[in-house]
Amino acid sequence: MEKAGFEQSKVNLPLWLLAEVSYRCPLHCVYCYNPIDYASYGEEMSTEDWLRVLRQGRELGATQLGFSGGEPLMRSDLEILVAEARRLGYYSNLITSGVGLDERRIAAFKEGGLDHIQVSFQDSTREMNDFLSSTRTFDLKQKVARLVKKYDYPMVLNVVLHKLNIDHVQQILEMAEQLEAEYVELANTQYYGWAWLNRDKLLPSRDQLQRAEEITNNFRQHAANRMKIYFVVPDYYETRPKPCMSGWGAVFLCITADGVALPCHSARMLPGLNFPSVRDHDLRWIWHDSPAFNTYRGDAWMKEPCRSCPEKVKDYGGCRCQAYLMTGDAANADPVCDKSPLHGLVTDAVERAAKRERDSAKPQVKRAADALLFRDDANSLRLADANKQPSA
């Protein structure tokens, strides 16, 4: 499998800075990895705060910068941040649903020096797209993709795959080709945040996955020189964990809308870690010296079977968040690994996914909607409240 990423990286610098500038989002995707209690967080950072973060990040050695969220276009000062990013020498990427991107804004981004734009599509069919994002935005996305081309951006299309759309991979790829995408990321849902809550309805079966991979491989040959296609398998179907973030505090630094610094998108929900805020500390201290960024750095924290495993230098014990969500202890081996004594938690989930497919020949959108939990402020506040009460 081909994979995007950093080649030959050896130095311990936050080469990749992700700025989650706003948790506000016009979509309500059921597979969003954002924290489930996002609506209870403090105020968004000011423009000045973000400019300071960008400067400090660049001084620390960050090269790739992602503007994400929520929906980053919800920030009306994004043009200012984009221009400063280019001036500082970042290679910057806008990760957007496309909602809020019009010609005036994209022209300003181009002028300011934004390097590329990644547009996420929920699916290639209007019905599925609108259902999964809970809005009617599909036509808009097609328009946005054309704007991206018009302003001479390399087009990166991202489609999050899961049980309810994975059978549409052929149509999704055909759409990407029509839109002249240069890169297509077919990223299977990772089960954190809202996706974790909805996991049992979103995890595809092994059969679905194999069909989708086969279609993707065929399409790769067909589109070889025009389109680069990445297919990210859900790690539940692996027997070794992903080298999550290339290790804790190794290359990746995420700053949330309210200024909390994280070593990955979803680490905030891990208990006992006091993640520092960029409102109180500079990035250099946060990255190199803060207790939170050093907690799972290297391998001294590891327990068995990771501690004595020769593969720990390859996968760093997998994902701390997944270990916590599934086993209750972030220092456990990622249960995706079949050396983990708790690997059965993963195979159980996979078996349930196969059983659901047998039970219903086709996923029924209407029926599924009764049970899926959409990412919105009301649900988020309710979940935040429930988390505060020990009995919940």
């Binding site: 990423g5 080649e7 030959q8 610098l13 080469l15 020498g89 990427n93």
Partner: protein, 92 residues
């Protein structure tokens, strides 16, 4: 591809080549990734500017690093870089 002394290369569209002070090396940035180009690889790519011919790049490097026969290494690197899509031949 046929590469000769008159071939002119430029950095590929949507790629950016720059010096990284924090890493003390040149890098090539592109969507979703980065190639680190320490030492001679950075020195070669620094001279790929859409104007210099391959022969001129070799001569310039041999002036900058006297005593070394660099031609073979430079050609090999440029062919490799072209194969990976980092650079493209300048048209016209």
């Amino acid at each position: 591809m046929p590469l000769n002394d008159d071939t002119i290369f430029e950095i590929a569209h949507h790629y950016r080549f720059q010096w990284e002070p924090a890493q003390q090396l040149h890098v090539l940035l592109y969507p979703e990734g980065m190639v680190q180009l320490p030492g001679s690889s950075g020195e070669i790519l620094k001279r790929v500017n859409g104007a210099a011919r391959v022969g001129e790049i070799v001569a310039d490097l041999e002036r900058a690093f006297p005593g070394a026969d660099l031609r073979g290494d430079v050609i090999e690197f440029l062919e490799n870089a072209h194969g990976k899509g980092w650079i493209r031949t300048k048209q016209g």
